[in-house]
Subunit: 164 residues, 2 copies
């Protein structure tokens, strides 16, 4: 099984590294895609992405993860990254987002009618785009979403139940 | 089941929060003990400890976790924290340490003859105290040890196998 993480600079460090190591713990191969050669989280953790968005073949991946922080505002500016996101929803593959990750989903046009958790500061954008805000960890079809690092345990528990 | 984490300021953020959320994911209650009222990790994450060392009843806990960073050099200065650590080895309860966490074990006098992984910079202290350095994730009786954040997935996978 293969997981793809979409990330740009100033990602929320725990929101990237918790699922990164957690999925590896399950024996899942994890690749990070980015527009950058190297990345630095909000808290200063460094990361070398495995692949550029344009070189990602989304059909090779089973799982998509979009961490929060300032990263999603940058991910959504890349057309290929948005196309990759759409692929996972079209194929109904498991997607995990947290915090500002919802911004990429709004750009991909996949939030309408869905129950989604996200950071409070972007809740109104979710609602304006037709989504329904959930103040907790939300499971809606292929999507498991959460608000902030305090949700990490429940978020990954529910996501792995979906994946299995 | 209850887990205790020993922590002081400048803990390695991922090495504390990964097991913190990971154990919660398993339904394990997690408490952080410290000499401080509030803590800040090396990377700036904040944490409010649940209990002072002197108020910990170690017999109430099933699991001990000692994250790395600059924290263990401070944990080992507290006599009660060292006594708590000894309790887990005397009772053969599961203990997980990573990185500089080994410094607390050296002070507790429990490394002699044990196979232990730790951060390279304190490897010689482990060896001088009679331990055997392992350059990976090490399982030795009740103790699962690791070197750095890159070991998080394997560390927690092996530790949870021991706990279960």
């Amino acid at each position: 099984m293969k997981a793809l993480i979409l990330a740009e600079n100033d990602f929320e460090d725990l929101e990237l590294f918790y699922p990164y190591y957690r999925l590896k713990e399950e024996g899942i191969e994890v690749k990070v895609a980015s527009s950058q050669e190297s990345l630095k989280g909000k808290r200063g953790y460094l990361l070398t992405p495995d692949v550029k968005y344009e070189d990602v073949a989304p059909e090779e991946f089973d799982i998509l993860v979009i961490p929060g922080g300032k990263s999603p505002e940058r991910v959504r500016l890349n057309e290929k990254a948005v196309e990759i996101t759409k692929h996972f929803f079209e194929k109904n593959k498991p997607v995990a987002i947290i915090c500002h990750g919802v911004q990429v989903l709004i750009s991909a046009g996949v939030v309408k009618g869905r129950k989604i958790a996200c950071w409070y500061g972007v809740k109104d954008d979710l609602i304006a785009a037709g989504g329904e805000f959930v103040d907790g960890v939300a499971v809606d079809g292929n999507l498991v979403s959460a608000r902030h690092p305090g949700d990490l345990a429940e978020w990954m528990k529910k996501f792995l139940e979906l994946v299995k």
